[in-house]
Amino acid sequence: METIEQLDTDISDLHTRIATLRAHRANLSSILLSQPHLAARLQPGNQRDKPTETAQRLIKQQSARNLENIHRACAGVTAYKVQDPDPHAVNNGNILGVRIDVSIGGKFVETYHVLLAFQERESESDKVLRIHKHTIPPCIPLQQLANRWLPSSSKDVEDATHPEQDLVHFGRSLRKELVGWHMRVQAVEDLRKEAGLPDSRLKGDGQDTFGIESTAGILNAFVSDDDASSDAEEAEEEEDGIIRILDIESDAAVRQVTITWSDRRTAVININKDGTVEKAVCRTKGGGRDVARSRKAVGPLRGLVQRLMA
């Protein structure tokens, strides 16, 4: 006799099976639709029945998608047109979109958009591109890039009354910033993995059931006047003899990384946009500077943990 639990597991098994089969079918059908010359082969004479029309529509859809994806995957920066639904939009709502696909480690991890509108330049007849909407995070210097490559009025660039707009350069430098940022994020993740720390993107998911960890660390414990106290906690940490990295954390732009060891050594590291360690300050457990180690930290971000542990 089957219990309810058994039936439930059976049902969920069937659901997953349906899902995989669906995915498989979708995969197969897109492979079939992508066959070369399929459209031509499906057109025997000029009879126009409904299934053929549907097939043609699907083939067209698929080949459009294939073309788009190939462009996106190979170029990294692609442009497209969208329509602003706002009835009062400038230039009848014609919007030029710029799409930046960021790939890390053989995967496309994120897509960013910048939507540009044409706008009449003041007191002049020509039109300039202006950023209308975008999905670039604030840790990317979009404003500066736009000022440099898409100046809209003469005040942005000195001694030039007709500043040139260079969308290609804009896209290229914006992509460089975005990819650099993603690679720095990835590099810090790798460092964390190397140090045996949990993935920071998963942090706070499971352990928070009780709410006890909701505030991470009080950053200004030093403000209190009686700081003769904070020494008590570390005494036992050292006794187990193994010194390990407690935490590696970075700011949102990954330009500064802080490493904390279990024996109260710390290192604060400045990183350039291309991922090289530019400056580093390592401190010993007493708070003094560790000049030799600081010098050792300068270099590529990869292998930083090994350099510092050595």
Binding site: S30, P85, K133, T135, E177, F210, A252
Partner: protein, 505 residues
Amino acid sequence: MATAPDYKNIPHSHRLPVRHREVQRTFTKLSRQSLVSLVQQWLSKKNRDFCKPYLLSDRKHGEEEDDDELYEPAQSYEELQETYRELATRKGGRREVLDRMLDGDWRTGISMYQLATAEIQYLLDHPNALRWTAKRLTKIPNARSTITDMEVTNDSDHLPRFQAQTFMSNLARELTPLMKAHYLITRIKTSPMTILRVYIHDAPYSSEGSLAVDSNSTDSAKAVFFVWPNGSPFVYSSLATLTGQVVGDDGRHLRDIVQQAIPKAFSRPSARYQLTSTNFTTKSLDALLTYRGPGKSNAAAGGWSIFQDHSFSQNALDFITTQKGDGHEKVSAGKTAVNGGTKAGPGRPKRPLDEKESSEAKRRKEVVAGRFGTSAQSDDDQGLERFEVRVDDPFPSLDGSSTAQLDDNTSTLDAQASSRSRRGRPSLLDRTAEDLEEIGNGQDWVPNVRITFQGTHVFAGIRQLAEEGVVDGEKMPGWMTGEAGVTIGAVREGRMRTKEGVPGI
């Protein structure tokens, strides 16, 4: 007990008596679970110095054991931790824990640190408890360094760098001559932000005794909150106090001092910052993180939200198109069923009618989905409570004669409007001289029209109205979808007026 005035901050360990109004007000609001978790935080080793409980060893020798003592003092921290762990597992009322804390283990007083963590805990439990204003830290342009500021190089940095220690010591240096304050700055694990709480103590003394004095005026104090979302140039400040507290001019003034000190504490030589308004005020911290946060959503609100989640563009390696095709087939299947359904006969006379209406409703829904994208869902916790606009467009004229008539009336109407606005507090929406000049250039009559939307979730409401057909989803101007990303603004030529430059930064 008046000691000499000094130049210190209020340390974490200074205690307030448990009957102090601030203590009572803060702790009575917290839930049982929050209280227990707070105690466990306090009793962890690194925090013990700021949160000393009353232990058995604290009882002075020779002191009589009080018979009607409700709570026996614990022997050690470990015992206390065990007690509260047990309270956490057991079900019961909030009062039980609260009484034990205030009358038992912390009968000698609640430290400033404890009060601050309790208030922050309340804030995290109720993210809509305070009204927040989003400001932006902007660099004051420097004549010498304008060119270098604009350059994007390998090591250029365009955001103000936030270093907690440096910032705190700078802030304290700005404020200590003016007031005494207790500062607590903490990172939040569950959401990407840093919270600073400043407890203003308007006295020249930083001693424990002066803290305990419950001042008579209702508005003297107390806490001001600032939130920095990580990796963005914004600061959210909450100058309003918890619900129902009236703030007088004195309290407001002290808070303004704190707020003015924030950009100064951020500034370095040759990089000066100021706080500028971003026309955004709301109670919801989630909405703040969406509209003025660290992520992709700042400049893609309203219908543009499809660009920030992945509903617009698939992964570049996702070649499957047919799954979407399935969806379309279902839609068309639904439509054929409607056509067949009309002949279905007497069994279900009402249903075809509904279905016919629903095709119109379906079209409206599609239009609305195009205008709002994935935003403005009533359950997304990102409700804005108030949205104000001023319309600066000329009155639509029907024919020549009527405009001439209207022109005659303009002067009187304007006079009325100006006299009315002078009565109340000046609103951010009042036209400035600059605006008036710009409007005055045209020949048309520009009435002073202001629209205020209010509710629990304004844009979800507009979305619903558009879905019901009350608001025309196609003719509706873009700012009604919330895509402008402000809560207060002026509309000209049907568009929200924005400053020059890139939106959302």
